[in-house]
């Protein structure tokens, strides 16, 4: 059949595509039905939401090799391995024959509007696995169904008498056909009208079994091309220096010496676009040096003579913001938002046998990705081509579209493997900068913009510092009957199209512990303003809240002279499912289980008598459960993190090796953050400029091992990339309290411990 005929036939079934690839390959793309495609045999709605709108593809070649497209950016979360394995398992593919290719952004033009052909494309937000579970398996199932039909026709037996195993169709009599030998026939078979049945769990071959990173060999040999490693034709390198104040302006510039540097081509000034939301345009005025290579650009940047004029924000400081928060909490001001109010806290307060209050402070934080912000872009008359480390390719598209005015299918965005994201690359200030440069009428080359690390640290979308004032009411029977949390912070959602009434959602979780466990529970949030930009951060809002809540539970236990594990278990009560106001349920049994697992492993029974300090903490969010137990020792006045145990329950485990890596990795990141990290600003300027000022933990500071316990389960899988972040710091601080009697209520812990001891 000619390609033309196939195209006509397929146009009637736009939501499912079988394409004859080169050399007779079977290529399956499943894409969104076009609203205008009235020829579709069934309204897409009849197929259900999951079948409609998916689009990752599988390609099987005649030689048996399988190529699987990866739709979500991999920032180190392991989705480049786990998502293709979800598809490959459903296909019964031989994993050794599978290779993975990053799809980049999938967009087509739908009357000038973008139509996303691969469905959801988002990385590092903890949702890739659950989204893939809902739709990607079906791409594999469709491919397997077609191969089975092809074999059935060849053998003259019904397809249900055949089975698939590791890239082969096997008949009852033992006859076998490799997938490669079937693809030509399979590509001529009509698509099924409904989703073929998905495999049941006992038939999984890859899901639940460990696999190393698909890119491992390329990475260890230095072959992987991150965006920063790429060029596109004639390419100029751009380096940038931003105004120290977000609201500052350029008051004077002399770039004569810069232009005299060999290799420097141009100096340009860029400003944030007025009226655009945070993260879609520059966060500060910038001066850019374009040169033939990075070194020339850097030398040129050094020779710039710039005079910046501060804006009104030059009186702001993080110290003043903290003081303002404390003043707010000392008074009786109404909160910006009453986030939750169960029962009657005030009434319960009157019957209190015991009360306790504590205030916790957590500093501002930066993202500190390994690969700096960068973007490769070429803008031509009818085309923009980008290679960019973005966690959100569809949001990236919108920025390119706005700046260039190009239509959806004139914009091509490639997304290679990314050197860390943590939420930083959900924003596209750096991309806007690069696209503005490449759109400049004097620039007819590609531009690769590279931020130096000082720019990354000084011009981030930070995590706001926060102050948490926690109060508890305990009755005569030693039951916690009331809980009142007041949190003060600058919301990450300001100027992001979120109504004022929802600004709290980035700061505090309405369902966080111990909500639903305490009858009289109140959670208030107080808004602060700051000119320092904020944005999505790893494990937000859980990281800061878990530290406050889980430290406070430890303090409550201490005040009652009770083992903190027992306090936790009493608080959690019977194993049961409690409804969450955000939807879904909180299964206390699963949380109790992970808590007990870490307690057993670290030999919690020694808690009271151990020379070293033991600490414990647990948390739940996004339908997943996590607990940490930490053992610390003080040797020669130095804090040694001796042992760290982490247990997680994410439901079904896709890749145990990947999960262990994510859990251990997030644990170490959380310890590093809690021990060392703090962003401060003074006179409106960020005070940390290099990796020495914002020093991630050294190998010596971190534990030699993280003992990871993963709970097997059969519920739909939840994401795990930052699950282990929130509980590491409180478990550490609680262990430090046992070892030293010093209660850490302020992070970073290292600095605070030396101040207090």
């Amino acid at each position: 059949m000619s390609d033309t005929n196939r195209g006509i036939r397929l146009s009637r079934r736009r939501f499912l595509q079988v394409l004859a690839g080169t050399a007779g390959a079977l290529v399956i793309g499943i894409r969104a039905a076009d609203a205008a495609d009235t020829d579709a045999p069934l309204p897409p709605s009849l197929l259900g939401d999951t079948f409609y709108g998916i689009g990752a593809y599988v390609r099987i070649d005649a030689d048996g090799n399988v190529l699987i497209g990866l739709r979500d950016p991999d920032t180190g979360t392991g989705v480049a391995t786990s998502l293709p394995r979800i598809i490959a398992d459903e296909l019964d593919a031989d994993w050794n024959r599978v290779s993975v290719v990053s799809l980049g952004l999938g967009v087509t033009d739908n009357n000038g509007q973008p139509s996303w052909i691969y469905g959801r494309q988002l990385g590092g937000t903890g949702g890739s696995i659950s989204a893939a579970w809902a739709d990607l398996r079906q791409a594999g199932a469709v491919a397997r169904w077609l191969l089975l039909q092809a074999a059935a026709r060849r053998l003259g037996v019904p397809a249900d008498r055949l089975r698939c195993e590791s890239g082969t169709v096997i008949a009852l009599d033992g006859r076998r056909f490799t997938y490669g030998s079937l693809v030509e026939d399979a590509s001529k078979i009509d698509m099924p009208n409904s989703v073929p049945p998905l495999k049941t769990a006992e038939r999984y071959q890859l899901i639940g079994n460990p696999a190393g990173d698909v890119d491992a060999r390329e990475i260890v040999t230095g072959q992987t091309r991150f965006a920063i490693d790429q060029q596109y034709g004639d390419t100029l390198t751009a380096v940038v220096v931003h105004c120290p104040w977000p609201d500052g302006t350029l008051d004077g510039i002399d770039f004569t010496d810069t232009l005299a540097v060999k290799g420097v081509r141009k100096v340009l000034q860029l400003s944030p676009e007025v009226g655009q939301q945070a993260g879609t345009t520059l966060s500060a005025t910038a001066v850019v040096v374009l040169a033939e290579d990075t070194w020339s650009a850097l030398k040129g940047r050094q020779k710039l003579k710039l005079k910046w004029k501060p804006g009104a924000s030059n009186s702001e400081s993080s110290d003043a913001l903290e003081q303002q928060a404390n003043t707010l909490l000392a008074g009786k001001t109404d909160p910006t938002t009453r986030v939750r109010n169960d029962g009657d806290y005030d009434a319960a307060s009157k019957k209190a046998a015991r009360r306790l209050e504590a205030t916790y402070f957590q500093p501002w934080l930066a993202h500190a990705t390994a690969e700096p912000m960068n973007c490769l872009v070429r803008v031509e008359k009818n085309k923009a081509t980008l290679v960019v480390p973005t966690q959100a390719p569809q949001k990236a598209w919108a920025v390119v579209h706005r700046i260039t005015g190009l239509s959806p299918d004139q914009i091509e965005i490639g997304v290679p493997r990314i050197g860390g994201g943590y939420g930083r690359r959900l924003d596209h200030d750096y991309l806007a900068e690069a696209v503005m440069l490449a759109s400049n009428k004097d620039i007819d080359t590609s531009v690769r913009l590279i931020w130096t690390h000082d720019q990354d640290l000084e011009h981030d979308y930070y995590r706001s510092g926060s102050v948490h004032q926690l109060s508890v009411i305990i009755d005569r029977k030693r039951q916690i009957t009331g809980w009142y949390q007041r949190m003060v912070s600058a919301s990450a959602l300001v100027n992001r199209g979120v109504p004022d009434s929802r600004l709290w959602t980035s700061e505090v979780d309405v369902d966080q512990l111990p909500a639903a466990l305490v009858p009289n529970y109140r959670s208030d949030w107080y808004a602060q303003t700051s000119a320092i930009p904020r944005g999505p951060a790893r494990s937000m809002p859980h990281l800061s809240n878990a530290f406050a809540v889980e430290s406070f539970i430890d303090e409550i236990a201490h005040s009652m002279k009770e083992d903190p594990l027992d306090t936790h278990l009493r608080l959690l009560g019977e194993a049961r499912e409690l409804p969450l106001s955000g939807g879904g349920t909180f299964d206390t049994g699963r949380l109790i289980n992970v808590l007990k697992l870490v307690a057993d492993r670290i030999e919690w029974k020694n808690w009271l008598h151990s020379v070293n300090g033991l600490g414990i903490a647990c948390w739940h969010f996004n339908g997943a459960y996590v607990a940490h137990a930490v053992e610390v020792a003080i040797k020669e006045q130095k804090l040694i993190v001796q042992r760290v145990v982490c247990a997680v329950d994410v439901g079904r485990i896709i890749n145990p090796m990947g999960l262990e890596g994510q859990v251990a990795g997030a644990t170490l990141d959380a310890l590093s953050t809690a021990l060392n990290l703090s962003i401060t600003y003074k006179d409106g300027q960020i005070q940390q400029h290099t990796g020495k000022d914002y020093a991630l933990a050294s190998m010596a500071q971190l534990p030699d091992a993280v003992e990871v316990i993963t709970v097997p389960g059969d519920r739909d899988p939840a994401g795990a990339s930052f699950l282990a972040m929130p509980t590491a710091a409180p478990a550490l601080a609680n262990a430090v309290f046992r070892a030293t009697a010093v209660r850490i209520r302020r992070l970073p812990l290292g600095k605070e411990l030396s101040r207090l001891s």
Partner: protein
């Protein structure tokens, strides 16, 4: 003076380089290169922009995160901290030069795969270079020895890197 010496030598088959020629001779991954640009260019940018050997990464202006480590005369060195002029004629090995010509991986590379000691992968080449250097100096490194690695990593690959180094020390790279 060097020229005079060369002329004084008895005739042999040795080709005497033309000392009047511009440039700096470099020896990278067993290949010879001549750099005729700015002698002060940091080795990092020479590798990345000129040779397009991009396995060595930018890791801060002072190489703070260790992603820019290369082996200079066998010693792990921050490539952004040394100029091309400074490393003239010295043996330089980058991450691209660690594996054998037939593709056989260096045991440290293999052990990183075995232990999945990879986060985002950006700083992994730097960790591998630092580990190769350490294992050359200490065949059986202690935990304290491993603690001296200069690299940092926000993905948290440290505990898996430690396992990979111990695997190499135990001669178990590539084994189950």
């Amino acid at each position: 003076m060097a020229l005079a010496q060369a002329q004084a030598l008895p005739a042999t088959n040795t080709i005497v380089p033309d000392k009047t020629r511009d440039g700096i001779d470099l020896q990278i991954n067993g290949e010879h290169y001549r750099h005729t640009g700015d002698p002060q260019m940091p080795l990092l940018w020479y590798l990345r922009d000129v040779l397009r050997l991009t396995g060595t990464k930018y890791g801060g202006e002072h190489g703070e995160n260790g992603a820019d480590l290369i082996l200079l005369k066998g010693k792990a060195t921050s490539a952004i901290s040394v100029s091309v002029a400074k490393v003239a004629n010295a043996e330089i090995v980058t991450i691209e030069g660690l594996a054998a010509n037939d593709g056989t991986l260096h045991p440290v590379q293999q052990a990183f795969i075995d232990e999945d000691a990879i986060g985002c992968g950006y700083c992994t080449p730097g960790w591998i270079i630092a580990s190769v250097d350490l294992l050359k100096r200490k065949k059986q490194p202690s935990d304290d020895d491993i603690d001296t690695l200069p690299n940092v990593c926000r993905c948290g690959c440290q505990t898996r890197v430690r396992r990979a180094i111990k695997r190499v020390a135990a001669g178990k790279a590539g084994q189950p």
